[in-house]
């Protein structure tokens, strides 16, 4: 495939003795939205968290194989995990604003990366909130605690916070699963706008959502990547029977 941003090569993942990802190989295309679907427990989150090495924080895990980011193996011992995470942003399933002001939430990533210039921070916060389609709703109350926002706003705040450090890749783990339909729609529109600038990988439980927003879709099952293709192909003409069964809701 053309323009691969991320390549997984025979990637395996274990929680202790539990073999959760099995020989996953896939290429993620730059500036596209790649959706990951599959029944719960099939390893979607684990795969996503493998791409920014978030699984490092869990004890007793093991990886085999490679994940290449711009051609470099992120599991190479010489790679700096902090750099990787700056480059690969992540939005969590349950929105997790910090108990700080809206402004400080978005500025957090800049500050820990050593940026002190107030005007720079101010501009970047504003830009990120605009990119996350939240600016209009919060511009008059930037100093308010982030917990005062609604669920959908909190999730967009977390997106803004991630955008502020200018990653190249956005990982989203069921970002709308806890939101009502209106808020979900807003997030979906946002993802659509963001893909010109970012490579987006999104896990979703919701088949219609995957069909709506993703250019490519990967179907996982029991830790294996069963099928991976253009979304249009997966949803209209899957090559495997089991994919079809899943998509038509026969199980899962």
């Amino acid at each position: 495939m053309e323009n691969a941003k991320i390549k997984a090569l025979d990637f395996n993942f274990y929680y202790g003795a539990h073999h959760v990802l099995k020989n996953v190989s896939a290429e993620v295309i730059a500036n596209k939205v790649t959706g990951i679907i599959g029944p719960s427990g099939c390893g979607k989150s684990t795969f996503l968290r493998s791409i920014n090495r978030m699984n490092d924080v869990i004890s007793d895990v093991k990886v085999e194989g490679k994940i290449l980011l711009d051609g470099k193996n992120i599991y190479d011992p010489e790679m700096d995990v902090v750099d990787i995470r700056r480059q690969v942003g992540m939005v969590f399933q349950k929105s997790n604003p910090f108990p700080k002001s809206i402004f400080d939430n978005v500025a957090y990533g800049l500050r820990i990366n050593g940026i002190k210039d107030k005007y720079f921070i101010q501009e970047r916060v504003e830009k990120s909130l605009k990119d996350a389609a939240l600016w209009g709703e919060v511009k008059d109350r930037l100093q308010k605690n982030a917990f005062e926002l609604s669920g959908g706003q909190q999730q967009r705040l977390c997106i803004a916070r991630t955008l502020a450090v200018e990653p190249e890749i956005l990982l989203m783990d069921e970002p709308a699963s806890a939101l009502d339909p209106t808020a979900t729609l807003k997030i979906e529109e946002l993802i659509h706008q963001l893909k010109s600038k970012y490579t987006i990988i999104i896990v979703t439980h919701n088949m219609q959502q995957a069909a709506r927003i993703s250019d490519y879709t990967a179907f996982f099952m029991l830790g294996e990547l069963v099928e991976y293709d253009l979304t249009s192909m997966i949803f209209t003409n899957p090559s495997k029977k089991i994919t079809e069964d899943y998509i038509t809701g026969r199980f899962g």
């Binding site: 700056r86 942003g89 969590f92 997790n96 108990p99 957090y108 990533g109 917990f147 977390c158």
Partner: protein, 284 residues
């Protein structure tokens, strides 16, 4: 009435009686100390040296001694206890060794204080040759409070949601940055509260300072950390059991008790206020 309902009412009232009994006992102790000690409290009592074989005068050296020793205790207990808790909760792998260490700490917090006293004599007074003094006593109490500080601090750290850590890491924070900027600010109130409660307990201990530096009677204030000192709990013990004119000095004993529990109460109140204020500023 059905049997089950009867049991319910019976059980409920039994528990209520227990609670009332406890409260009554507490109230009686407080009443006893306050009614018999309050009359003794005066500016002179708080600021004067004991006189005339401790039958007259004040308890200044005991107050100063207790304050000094508690400060040493805090200096040992706060950084080491919090540091150990941060290490255990944030850095240490969750393996058998860590679990063993944690279990030992829990067990140490139940060791009788007299044992710490003996340990202090052997380690600080004799092996390290510091002698019986403020420093030895403070270090001994510091050791005794460490398990409490560590346990309370670890609990406070555990209460910080994991999403704060992961959220920070995902933005490119190093582990220490995540802890410093996104965990400690939300744990510090709990850590301090637990620590201060531990210190207030230490301030009232007699056994650990008995062999390590507390003196029966000194007509002067400690001039350095290597001097012996008088302390409120030990003074209280002497005045109520060891003095040659016990009945005559009974009011002094009650006054001392009142000063001691007031100090302890003030520390606990401070801890509560601190927790309340920090909690209010961080979440809502």
């Amino acid at each position: 009435m059905k049997k089950r309902q009867l049991q319910e009412i019976l059980g409920f009232n039994l528990l209520r009686v227990c609670m009332v009994l406890v409260l009554l006992t507490l109230a009686f102790i407080l009443y006893d100390i306050i009614s018999k000690g309050a009359g003794k409290i005066s500016w002179e009592f708080l600021t004067a040296m004991p006189r005339n074989g401790m039958k007259e005068g004040g308890i200044l050296p005991a107050i100063v001694g207790t304050v000094l020793v508690t400060v040493i205790t805090a200096i040992l207990s706060i950084p080491f206890g919090m540091g150990a808790a941060i290490y255990l909760n944030e850095y240490a792998k969750d393996n058998n060794l860590t679990r063993l260490i944690r279990m030992s700490i829990r067990n140490l917090s139940g060791v009788p204080s007299i044992v710490y006293g003996l340990f202090g004599v052997i380690l600080f007074v004799q092996a390290m040759n510091i002698g019986t003094c403020v420093l030895s006593a403070g270090l001994t109490l510091g050791l005794m409070t460490l398990p409490w500080t560590i346990t309370a601090s670890e609990e406070a750290l555990k209460n910080v949601p994991n999403s704060f850590r992961e959220g920070a890491l995902a933005l490119g924070a190093t582990k220490w940055q995540a802890i410093r900027t996104n965990v400690l600010p939300y744990a510090i109130s709990g850590m301090l509260t637990g620590t201060i409660l531990g210190l207030s307990r230490a301030a009232g201990e007699t056994a650990p300072i008995l062999f390590t530096g507390a003196a029966f009677y000194l007509p002067f204030l400690p001039r350095s950390l290597f001097d012996q000192f008088m302390a409120l709990p030990y003074h209280l013990y002497i005045m109520s059991t060891q003095h040659h004119a016990i009945t005559q000095v009974r009011p002094i004993a009650y006054g001392t008790a009142l000063v001691l529990i007031t100090a302890v109460f003030a520390m606990n109140l401070f801890a509560t206020i601190l927790r309340y204020r920090l909690r209010k500023t961080k979440m809502e």
